[in-house]
Each structure stands twice: as C-alpha cells, then as structure tokens.
C-alpha cells in the first residue's frame, strides 16, 4: 500500500481504457477520486457501478467513458441522470455502450469476481426483456441436482476499484463503517484497489466484526477529507440531499453542466478547494 496525494494515486492506478469501478452504495461514493480522473483527462474508460449516481453523470458528460456497466442509472429520489441520458439518447459527447444488469445480478457478478469464479448463479424464472437486449450477457445452465434452469451471470473483475472509507491506520488497513453496499466485493474482484479516506489514525476505531480491508489488498491510498461529498461518510458528514436536488437543474442542460464542471472541477486544484468554493468546508 502506497500513501500518495490523490492526483498521483489516480495517475498511477487509472489508465486510459481501464475498466474502473467507483463503488459505495449511496454512502461513501468516491467523488474526489472521480473528479481527479476528470482533471487528468482519462479517456475511453469502461465505467462499472451499481448506481452510476452523480459522479458517473459527470464522468460521462465530460467524455471520459465509452462503456457503462450498471444496474440503476438515476439520481436517487430525484429523477434522471441527464448526462447519462444525453449520452445514450443522443450520443453526446460521444456514444456510450451499455451493459445492463439488475442489482441482484451485478452484486452476484462482483461476488463471482471476488471469489475467483467465472460466473455466479441465481434461480431462473420468466425472462424479462433485459435478457434479450443487445449486449445482454446472461446465460442459463441446468442445476445438476434438480434439473431446473438457473441464470448464470458472468463475473465482473474491474482493472481498478476505487472506494472512499472513513479511516486508514498506521499500517494501511482501512475501515468502512455503515452501509457497505457491494464495495468489498468490488474491491476483492479488482486487479488494483485505490482508497480515499477521511482521516489517518494510529489505530482504527473498529469493532471486532468491523469491515476492514487489510493494507496488503490495497494498491494506493490518499487522505481526502470530505472525499465522498456530496455523498456522505457515516460519522463524519451527512449526504447533501440539497446538492442532489440542485444537480437536476445543473445537469439538465449541456451548457450549464459544462460551465459547472469547468468552474468547479477543472478550475479547482483539488477537492478541498471545491468544498470551499461550494461553502461546505468548515
């Protein structure tokens, strides 16, 4: 595990053309890391994430991605991701190929990837149209015990998985506290793991059964307070629901989107500057 400034960590771990998963389910979404990918101008990425959320709306709108693997692409509780829609509906700024799953399927795909398996199984019932779209990647096998049809979901193994977490200790072990989503499975499935954290501590404030990623599973880490904003970090700051509502207006239009990104992401040296500019840094 190497402790690096975020721009160096991203430069080292994320290459043009990589399959990249920024995970964290509503909670602990690594926004700062996503912004750094945009600042470094990475291109041709295959973005993977259960819920693309605002950070992928931004990456897609800024032209970083040509493929998206996902299971629910909306602004939670608000509505559409307008940049994702614009890319799919009108190929702006470029076409975006989709690989689409349900949550259960993508969770299973990460789990298979984390387990060194080529696929995972779930029961099979009536096909929905999702099994029939171009690029659909589900297949079926028969259970060798019951003869019943099962759905096989191919493993997902990102080149790099990026997480945000609460703490890193002196040895580089990382604590995730609260809703964990499929973050662990996405990390264990990946070839490289990059973690941003709220703070460095001598010893993690971790219960015996806490979710801790051992340092030797982590390629690089950066200390980025507020790195999940406008998502949240349990015990540090809550989700900025107002920002999620405001994003609907910002992203609806190509021009206001581009202006916002140029001013707040490209125009800022780092995440701390963005938080100050938005008036949320104390």
């Amino acid at each position: 595990m190497a402790l690096l400034p975020l721009n160096e960590a991203i430069a080292t771990c994320v290459n043009d053309g990589d399959a990249v998963a920024l995970e964290g389910f509503t909670h602990l979404i690594p926004f700062a890391a996503g912004h750094e990918i945009i600042r470094l101008g990475r291109r041709n990425l295959h973005l993977i994430r259960m819920t693309p959320d605002l950070i992928y709306d931004q990456l897609i709108g800024m032209g970083c991605a040509t493929r998206l693997t996902f299971s629910w692409g909306g602004n939670p509780g608000v509505g559409s991701l307008h940049r994702l829609r614009d890319a799919v509906e009108r190929q702006w700024p470029q076409p975006l190929a989709l690989t689409e799953f349900s949550h259960a399927e993508l969770a299973l795909a990460y789990q298979a990837g984390a387990s060194g398996m080529s696929c995972g199984l779930m029961p099979h019932y009536a096909d929905t149209d999702l099994a029939r779209v171009p690029g659909a990647s589900l297949r079926t096998v028969r259970c060798p015990f019951t003869g019943r049809l099962l759905t096989a979901v191919p493993a997902v193994n990102p080149d790099v998985t990026i997480l945000h977490a609460q703490q890193i200790d002196a040895e580089g072990n990382v604590l995730i506290r609260g809703i964990v989503g499929a973050a662990r499975e996405a990390a264990l499935a990946a070839r490289r793991v990059l973690v941003t954290v709220e703070e460095r501590v001598e010893r993690l404030a971790a219960d015996l059964n806490a979710v801790v990623l051992p340092s030797w599973l982590i390629s690089a880490a950066s200390i980025v307070p507020g790195g999940a904003y406008p998502s949240y970090a349990q015990g540090y700051y809550p989700r900025d629901n107002r920002f999620y509502l405001a994003w609907d207006e910002i992203a609806r239009d190509r021009r206001t989107f581009t202006a916002w990104m140029e001013r707040h992401v490209l125009g800022m040296p780092d995440h701390a500057a963005l938080l100050r500019a938005l008036g949320v840094a104390a």
């Binding site: 389910f25 629910w72 019932y125 009536a126 149209d129």
Partner: protein, 265 residues
C-alpha cells in the same frame, strides 16, 4: 387539495399504508413506498420490518430518506448487511412479505417497465433501469405497485418488460415458477386496481371519495375492466394525515440543513 382536504399523494400514501399488516417484512423503495411504510410503522403497524436494498434491515427512520441508503437508515437499522446478501439471503431466499414497485409504464397484467421508452438501442427516453425491481417482482410474497394513473403510464403495450407481473395472465406467472404471488394491488391517484382471480387482468376495485369510474377509465391506456363490486375507499383519517404531514415536515427540515465538512488533515 383544498376541495378534499388532502393531496393525491397523501391519499395514495395512506391507502398504501393500510395495505400493510403489523410484523410484515417489507422491501421498501424510495418515495411514496418509503412514506407509506413509515406511516404504517408510526401508526397501526409498529413492528413492520423495513428492508431497504442498501442493506439496512429493520430501519426505523425518524425522517424519510431521499436516497435508498441515507445515514438515517444505517443508524436506525437492526442490522446492516452487504448488498449481495440483501438480495440473496433475504429477497431470493423468500424472506420478504411485501415488495413495493413503481414504474414508468404498467400493462393490464401488472407487468412493469422502468428501462426505456422507445427502442432499447435507440431510446426516446432512457429510464434508470431495473435496480432491485426485477427480483422484487419475482420473489416478494406479494407486490404493491404505486403509480399515478395516466394513459401514458397505464399502457396497452409496454415498450420494455423490466419486472414481471402476471405476464400474459391466466396463470402464466405461476406456470413460470415464480415464487411470489405478483402484484396484489396497484394503488393509483384514482383508487386501487386488483387482478381478476382467473384472468389476472387488473380491474378497478376501489375508488377514492368523489372519483368516478369514467375518470379512472379515461386515465387508462387500455379498456379498463371494473370489478363486480367497487369499493369506495375512506378519506385519510385525520390522525394518519397528521402523522404523515409531521413526518414530511421533519424530512424537509432535515434535508434543508446545510452540510459542514471539517477539513482536518
């Protein structure tokens, strides 16, 4: 609202809440379903078990979450489990009594579209997609659908089948082996549709006070059948309305609180 003393959202929420019996295990979606479940929990069903797909089991939020994984859910849950387990150990294993779904389109057999309007490869509107809906539709012992009724959303032909209702009706769902019973009620801003016991086609089973059959028919994109006996649903009880409005006021206040992040380091 002024005429009736309540909004369409309010009577939909109260009606949905009435469908929940105490101790039922609910797989809850954001928006009206979350409001309905928490209203039920705060009124007649204090031991309702709320599972959100973020992995929070037994959440008891004091304010409504905007997202499916707000910190309020984590802090008030009995248990937080990884997302793959919520789907495998709870939903797929058959532990969920009631699932809630909404969608952009529903057809006469309760099948749902939340994926695209238009052609998949060249959509007119790209919708968010399945999320947890496909598996909720398959596995929950019963499904409650909550949707506003319009000819554009209650359609003769779905653009895309994301979540299975009764498929083509007349037992097609049961024949597919699907473990759950399917959509037992579709709660709209006009009243409630329920599946016919044999054909499984949705028919108008209940209306809110002051709403007529013709209005409901006009809001439906297929020739809506009407049950032999149409029930008139009660207006929201003042107590329930008060609890709901209080909950929503607390929620608005909480979501408006400015965020302050301490840049230690």
């Amino acid at each position: 609202m002024s005429a009736t003393g309540y909004t369409p959202d309010e009577i939909m929420t109260v009606t949905a809440a009435r469908h929940l019996r105490d101790r039922a295990v609910c797989f809850v979606g954001i928006g009206l379903p979350s409001a309905a479940c928490n209203l039920a929990r705060m009124t007649h069903a204090p031991r309702l078990v709320l599972i959100y797909e973020s992995g929070t089991v037994g959440a008891r939020p004091a304010v409504l979450p905007l997202s499916i994984g707000d910190g309020e859910l984590a802090e008030t849950a009995t248990s937080i489990v990884p997302l793959p387990e919520i789907f495998a150990h709870y939903l797929q294993r058959g532990r969920v009594d009631v699932g809630f779904l909404g969608a952009a389109q529903i057809d006469r057999y309760g099948n749902l579209n939340s994926t695209v309007i238009g052609d998949y490869a060249h959509p007119k509107v790209r919708l968010p997609g399945a999320g947890g809906a496909s598996e909720i539709a398959t596995y929950a012992r019963e499904v409650l659908v909550i949707m506003k009724q319009t000819p554009r959303s209650f359609v003769a032909q779905l653009d895309f089948l994301t979540s299975a209702g009764y498929l083509t009706g007349c037992g097609a769902r049961a024949a597919s082996g699907s473990p759950g019973a399917g959509p037992r009620a579709v709660i709209t801003d006009f009243g409630v549709l329920r599946p016919h016991s044999e054909t499984e086609e949705l028919e108008l089973a209940a209306l809110y006070p002051g709403i007529g059959v013709d209005a409901a028919r006009a809001a439906t994109g297929w020739p809506l059948k009407v049950a032999a006996h149409i029930e008139t649903l009660p207006a929201p009880e003042p107590d329930a309305l008060a609890v709901l409005r209080d909950l929503e006021a607390r929620t608005r206040e909480a979501h408006a609180r400015p965020i302050r992040i301490n840049l230690r380091n």
